[in-house]
């Protein structure tokens, strides 16, 4: 699923965003790294606090946090809808804070797409015209943008509704339009700001599936915001958990569940059914020299990309102490300690 390469697509270096009367002057007066409460005491809100983050090409990073934790602000700093107070955001190596208005517009016209929580559709335009909007902004000719928009509308499964106006669509359908619009220019980077929060739970599930299908198809670099931990676990390559503007932990879902870095993260993960999240590979210990042949001899390996929950029946019935784990090609990569896996399955503390 993950297609990563060395050079990060987005690189945030110690970025800060303060809201208040004179944030720049105030920030200059700060020494060290003051905490959230102190800054609030001085009459400023630290929406983003000393965040460093790198997102690799093709990766899906989910930013998770409660409302007011600064996740929306952080993503808006990444695309410069909001100017950072301090620090630097690099997109494909360019410092976007230093771009001129024209260069920024060009960057957005060619590289970025964004989906919004409340859809942000233009009420006076039809579905097709909404999807064609970013193409129109960059001056593509009528026929070309019509064809491209139609293609996008088909991609999100809204064929036959091209002439509808947003108010004639359901919430789920409106967000499909939002998604189609954000993809119209074929962006490399795709920002999604709580795209499914305004939808009913059933529709939300359906849209998540749809989203995974699209991602499978397109393989974009994605920054996805949500306040729903289950959604984060379901979608993410990596999760960044935010609180009071700072990032508490950035890691894969498995590791966040297994090894929460702070108490705050631990509290989040408490109610999560870990077996649903943790994959066999993660729990397995690597092979030591010469163990490979033994392992194979020990019987059938289990697939490493299955969750512990999916392997539950086998784990309970198996009697081996260590179960070999194989990767997608069938090569054994590690040994899964059965008791540890059962502990995860039954939700016991290791």
């Amino acid at each position: 699923m993950t297609r990563t390469s060395a050079e990060p697509v987005i690189l945030c270096e110690r970025i800060w965003k303060l809201f208040g009367d004179h944030p720049d002057r105030y920030f200059a007066s700060l020494t060290g790294t003051p905490d959230y409460e102190k800054i609030r005491g001085d009459g400023y809100i630290a929406a983003v606090r000393d965040v460093s983050l790198s997102i690799a090409k093709g990766e899906m990073l989910v930013i998770m946090g409660l409302s007011g934790s600064g996740k929306s602000t952080l993503v808006r700093c990444m695309c410069r809808l909001i100017e950072v107070t301090a620090g630097q955001v690099r997109v494909e190596g360019f410092d976007i804070g230093g771009l001129s208005e024209k260069a920024l517009i060009d960057l957005r016209r060619s590289k970025m797409g964004m989906v919004f929580q409340n859809f942000a559709l233009l009420p006076h335009r039809t579905v097709l015209q909404n999807v064609a909007f970013p193409l129109e902004m960059r001056g593509q000719d009528r026929v070309e943008r019509h064809d491209r928009a139609l293609e996008m509308v088909r991609l999100v499964g809204l064929e036959g509704r091209e002439e509808y106006f947003p108010r004639e669509l359901s919430g789920g359908q409106q967000q499909r339009v939002g998604i189609a619009r954000s993809l119209a220019i074929e962006p490399d980077i795709w920002f999604l700001d709580e795209p499914f929060s305004a939808l009913d739970p059933l529709i939300r599930r359906e849209m998540q599936d749809e989203f995974l299908r699209l991602q499978e198809l397109l393989g974009k670099t994605i920054v996805f915001i949500t306040h729903d931990f289950d959604e984060a676990l379901r979608l993410a390559d990596r999760i960044a958990i935010m609180r009071d503007g700072a990032i508490e932990q950035v890691d894969t879902p498995d590791r966040i569940v297994l090894e929460p870095a702070t108490d705050y993260v631990r509290k989040f993960t408490e109610d999560v059914e870990k077996a649903r999240v943790v994959h066999a590979t993660v729990l397995a210990r690597p092979l030591e020299d010469g163990e490979a042949s033994d392992a194979v001899r020990d019987g059938n390996p289990i697939p490493g990309d299955s969750t512990i929950l999916a392997l539950a029946r086998q784990l309970v019935n198996d009697h081996r102490e260590f179960i070999p784990v194989a990767d997608a090609n069938g090569a054994v990569t590690g040994l899964l300690p059965r008791t540890e896996a059962l502990a995860v399955l039954f939700g016991e503390q290791p």
């Binding site: 797409g113 970013p134 002439e163």
Partner: protein
């Protein structure tokens, strides 16, 4: 979290502050009463504003106007602008009623205009509006008022687009630049509380009289609401939609043109509706500066007491008002509907085709039967004879009653009340207002109130202003007496409130001038008639806000009251009225504004207040005097507005509604 913290602080203030505020306010009011009681012992300079207090504002204004007009040569600018407006007026005049000007193709047959209006009505809101639109023009043509109505409409057609554009530009600037808003806000506040006449005098100075002056005064008068609505609409565009515009790579201009303005469409179109209604109100009144049309006819007929004919004109004006209002409102509320994908060009443009067909048909018919082209005076119908008869009969029937009412009101209410207002020492009035201000909004409000009326004292028009004050206060009380029970009754059921709100809506679209017809009919030309008109006009917002306030009481509160075993009356007294009261007070505020405007307009049927002086200033084109008088009226309105809005928003916050 910060919001909660400050919220607690504010709550604490509410509890702690009012006691002191009210206590000091009471002391100030007590002092005012003492001064009034001890009037005989006061030195004269505390009873009437003394000479040294009266500043020659009028001279200053005249001086600066002359400076701008002559020395800066501004008059050439206004004359040039007036010339271009006049050219546009000539074009519409030619098309609508065949005035002999370029392009010399008019007049368009009245049947063509009527079917066009009907088609527009149909497009906007279906058959009923089509019928109203077409019917309005048929009535106008058949009653032989085509020319006057078209004179009136041609000004609206020219003035409204100017106002809309001006309002859009200024509103957009204010939305984008905070300093523009800060600059415009006080100007708009004053502009919207200046009476109509105050606008006319400077226009007469700069432009002269006649249609073009009428058009220009209309443009100036109708622009402020457009600025307000544009600003409101642009502010309301959700931030996500703007962010999306940015993310789609829109430039600033693209963002404004394709995102902000279209998304604010509804508010902007509501602004257009207000502009057009203001245009109509002004263009009717502009007859005072020589604007021909329905207004001028009505003025002449009313002055000649030809009730039947003036009712006919009144009906035309009302029809035009309702037609314009319904059409523009329908336009504002219209939501786009998609066509089926496979529909043909003919399907999509069916109405256009029908319209072209109808236009061709009426043009052809007009060639064959001249009556479908122009209805001549001699061919026009009139209902003035039977109407006059009926009116005479009614007047004779109820004459004893109206005579008695008139006599009673004048002798026992109006004159004593007027004398009492005039008797009050001005310092006492100032202190009274300051005391009320202090009770409502503390020191700042006290100063605001005293300053507004202090300036009126310093203007030298104290006595006239007190007469206006007495007429307005009496009218507002009467409007409350009629409007409040009516509103309570109407709010009793959904159906009743719908009907009464519809009546109020319709009545509010009438130009204020119209209200003079029935009262002149009943009471003749005097103070009672003026007050009658003011009360009728003022009862409308009173009723309307009472209904809205009562209907918007949360359902859960009523259910709680029901389950507590409250009777219908207890529920009204203890739950519905207290919760609705802030909204009702907003209605009182509007009633005051409406009354002020109406009192000034009613001046021409003989009152002795600021309005009469303003008419004198108009006829002698004395800009300084006219503006000073206008500002006096504006200050009264602004003071009341300040007090009521302050009180009502504090009250609403305390009740936790809205």
């Amino acid at each position: 979290m910060t919001a909660i913290v400050t919220g607690v602080g504010a709550e604490g203030n509410i509890r702690a502050e009012p006691d002191a505020r009210i206590r000091i306010g009471r002391w100030i009011i007590l002092l005012a009463v003492l001064l009034a009681v001890g009037r005989f012992a006061l030195p004269p300079s505390l009873v009437r504003p003394p000479e040294w207090l009266v500043w020659p504002f009028a001279d200053w204004i005249n001086f600066s106007f002359n400076f701008v007009k002559d020395d800066l040569g501004f008059i050439h600018v206004t004359r040039a602008f007036a010339a271009s407006v006049e050219w546009l007026l000539d074009v519409t005049a030619n098309l609508l009623y065949g005035r002999n000007r370029w392009p010399r193709i008019g007049p368009i047959p009245w049947t063509t205009i009527a079917v066009t209006a009907a088609v527009v009505g149909y497009v906007l809101n279906g058959w009923r509006l089509a019928l109203l639109s077409g019917g309005t023009f048929v009535w106008i043509a058949v009653m032989g008022q085509w020319r006057w109505s078209m004179e009136t409409l041609s000004v609206i057609i020219v003035a409204a687009p100017f106002s809309v554009c001006l309002g859009l530009v200024l509103g957009t600037a204010a939305a984008r630049r905070p300093w523009v808003e800060r600059l415009l806000n006080p100007i708009l506040n004053i502009a919207q509380s200046l009476p109509h006449f105050a606008y006319m005098i400077p226009v007469v100075v700069f432009i002269g009289v006649g249609p073009k002056a009428g058009a220009i005064v209309t443009i100036v008068f109708a622009t402020p609401p457009m600025i307000r609505m544009t600003l409101l609409g642009l502010r309301k565009v959700p931030s996500e939609i703007i962010e999306n515009g940015h993310m789609c790579g829109a430039t600033r201009w693209q963002l404004l043109r394709f995102v902000r303005i279209p998304t604010a469409r509804t508010e902007i179109l509501v602004g257009v509706n207000q502009v057009i209604m203001q245009c109509l109100a002004m263009v009717v009144l502009a007859s005072f500066i020589g604007m021909p049309g329905l207004g001028q006819k009505l003025l002449q007929l009313l002055q000649a007491l030809k009730i039947g004919r003036s009712v006919e004109i009144g009906i035309s004006i009302v029809l035009i008002a309702v037609w314009l209002d319904r059409c523009t409102k329908a336009w504002a509320q219209r939501q786009p509907v998609h066509f089926h994908r496979d529909s043909t060009w003919l399907d999509r443009h069916r109405i256009l085709v029908v319209w072209v067909g109808l236009v061709l048909l009426t043009l052809a018919v007009a060639q064959i039967w001249p009556i479908a082209d122009v209805v001549k005076r001699s061919q026009a119908l009139t209902i003035s004879k039977p109407l006059d008869g009926a009116v005479d009969w009614v007047i004779v029937m109820i004459d004893p009653a109206t005579q008695w009412l008139r006599g009673f009101l004048i002798r026992y209410v109006l004159i004593p009340m007027r004398d009492a207002y005039l008797w009050l020492p001005y310092v006492s009035v100032l202190l009274l207002l300051a005391g009320i201000g202090h009770m409502i909004g503390g020191m700042r409000s006290a100063l605001v109130c005293a300053a507004f009326f202090g300036l009126i004292a310093a203007s030298g028009w104290w006595d006239r202003a007190m007469i206006t004050t007495y007429m307005v206060s009496f009218s507002v009380v009467l409007a409350g007496v009629f409007g409040l029970p009516l509103g309570i009754w109407a709010a009793g059921s959904k159906r009743r409130s719908d009907i009464v709100l519809l009546v109020c809506d319709t009545a509010q679209t009438f130009p204020s001038f119209i209200y003079l017809i029935p009262v002149v009919m009943l009471f003749g030309v005097n103070d009672v008639a003026a007050i009658g008109a003011v009360v009728t006009f003022g009862t409308v917002p009173m009723t309307r806000y009472t209904i809205e306030g009562l209907r918007s009481v949360p359902e859960s509160m009523l259910e709680a009251a029901d389950m507590s075993g409250a009777s219908r009356f207890q529920k009204l007294l203890n739950v519905r009225l207290p919760v609705a009261f802030p909204t009702i007070m907003v209605g009182v505020n509007q009633t005051v504004m409406f009354s002020l405007f109406m009192v000034i307009i009613a001046a021409f049927i003989g009152t002795q207040d600021l309005g009469q002086e303003m008419q004198r200033a108009l006829s002698s084109t004395d800009v300084g005097k006219g503006l000073v008088l206008g500002l006096c009226v504006a200050f009264m309105g602004l003071m009341v507005d300040h007090l009521i809005i302050r009180w009502s928003s504090e009250r609403k916050a305390a009740l936790g509604i809205d």
